[in-house]
Amino acid sequence: MSSRRPPRGEYIETDTGNKVARKATLVGTQNIMLGGKTVIQPDVMIRGDLIRTIQASSQAASGAAPNNTAVSIGRYCFLSRGCCLRPPGRLYKGAFTFMPLRMGDHVFVGPASVVQAASIGSHVHIGAKVAVGEFAIIKDYVRILDGTVVPPNMVIPSFSIVAGQPARLIGEVPEGGHDAFELRDLYKTVGNNPQPAP
């Protein structure tokens, strides 16, 4: 028996080209910003519900509408199966609050990794089963190898290759290795009409 209608796709494809798996768990979607062309695989969890409870003083003073973005993701990011994005939290002026998690373009997050960074730059590769601690700052062109534990508050400068528990610098990204961070081709390989890898 063949169904007349094509089967419901595994992914929801948005106008801006995001491919979000139906089996992904996005909590507080109104607080999650996707830049477009981002892939969110099944079993991914994004905690958009963990918004900041204390607004920055400048915003409070100006009376502007509160910015409730909890997780912002740039273009061509790839969130692999089973990974989790969770905004970091801390005490600020005596009260506990979450702070936004910001992610640039072309960020790959490997399967089963947990990311609680404050900011991740562009062209970052996070391997499988990596834990990125709260308020870590990862700059551009950084490669984090599988199984790494990045301690809270750690700063990883551009062109670093880190590994280990806790993370330690093990090498530098060579000049010719910049293109390897591009995720445009990987984006095409998933979705409801996947194309084979070139």
Binding site: D140, P151, P152, V155, P157, E175
Partner: protein, 593 residues
Amino acid sequence: MAATPYTYIQCPCSDPSTLGRPADANSPTGTEPDEDDRTFDPRAPRSSYSLYPLEHLLYCEDCHQIRCPRCVAEEIVTYYCPNCLFEVPSSNLKSEGNRCTRSCFQCPICIGPLAVTSVETKPDPTLLAAPDNTAAPHSGPYALTCSYCHWSSTEAGIKFEKPNGIHAQLAKLRNGGTTRLTAKERKERRKDPSYRSTATEGGGPGDENLDLETQFANLKAFYQNQLADPNSGDAGLAALGDLGFSSPTSLSRIMSIYTGGSLQDKKAKSRVGAMREALESDEGLQLANLDESAAIEALQSDGHDCTASTTQLADQPPNLGEHHLHGRSRFTADLRPIPYLLRTKRSKRCPLCRHIISKPEAKVQTTRFRIRLVAGSYIPSIAIRPLSLSGGSGSSASGSALPGALLDPLKPAHYLLTFKNPIFETIKVTLGAPAKTPGRFASKVTVLCPDFEIGANTDVWDEALKDGGGGGGEPGRERRRQRRGEEGGGGSQGNINNNNHNQLEVGKIWERGRNWVSIVVEVVPASLRLDGGGDAPLAEDEDVLEIPMFVRVEWEGEPGGDEVGSVAGKDREAREKRELAYWCVLGLGRIRQ
């Protein structure tokens, strides 16, 4: 070695023929004078120092040659702290050393980052501020705590009064919290008569525990004083007289030898004083502490766990230590927070023509490069993919073999090599590979099509507009066809012998696209069985099937100002013939044992 498959390229800097000196007779790579006769052995001990993945290689446009991390000349553009990302001017570097002097420290136990926390609250590393800090926002004392292993500097007895300027504060603190005098303070204390009396009363000379820097400062001051005033020698210690090497007269005598006597001090002859050695702590005398009972006791009570590992000791910054060398910290309790080592941004020069081939922008926070000539933009990349040929009809050949699968010994296997041309000219590629791989276990290698052309890396739109022209037969699509026999074959000459294999024809290209070509390599892996007991067991990675391959790329470039670079050609034709040749190694996979 890396996971298979892989392609490593040999930089010509390690090739004896390009070194400009006679080949070393003892060279393990062989010394045939004719370069073409020499097969590169990827297993030679030297080879691992000259093989690099394509991404690690640069390219000199003036020399038209590959450059590797080993042969480029590096120049430091910027120093910066990897933690606070502040740039450190090189003038500071000379005075302050190569570590961050702000408040950036690493954990001496686990190397994780240390954060400044208030000691009064529970030292929870995730809390950057105390819950009650609205009431008392700056309540000291402070400590450095590790957010990974929860080590705290209080364990070493180190607390800070202020939350900033930790580096300067730490410089004055010993482990245990006692203050460490600066040289100036020590000098002032020396003049203090009350201190002098207590020092001479209690204990013998040299008992005072000096740290390395203070001891050196004291010794230096002591000898400088003596040199400046040669008559000040203690009468009691003049026993060495003028004979010893410590005498200022012998020093001036030696100096006169090197200065030709013109600078000889005539007064020197009248000098009778002699230099003496340091006798007190003030003068830099430090008695060796040979009593190790405390260390033995600590070992007995806390065991081996309390000792510092070699890595931990190696991470400790020099000169910041507590004790002299003979009392070097051997316990984790003696370790001190590690100020971050500075990192650098570096530019790279060609070793031959001195042109800059890589130069990052100086600003710490930018990732742009002013110059970045990477080899990947000049030489074709080689991707390896296993090809499984299910028997039967020709059309069933598919490229869906499991990557990383083991190769069966003595059973022919096929691999698809995809060459991608990065330059804007059509290139002609000629491959050379030995029929048998070097080493103990010789696998048979056949490159089915060692000679082919690859189309130029033109704009995808150019190709689309051209609408089906050209001999490739493939429209200008990035996407590779999944399943097909072979077609096209333009640009490959040679005999069209029908091999016994399904669709594998000698001299024919497997597949081609806009700027890429796939060819097939057939291998018959060697058996790794060792005969009898005489043979050495299998060495590490000896089971990897590695093919040395000589790649020659030829193309015609615009003479001057084009993408491929320009050199003053001998004859200025409209088109200039260019050639680049190098060895590379294809690691196909591991052979089943």
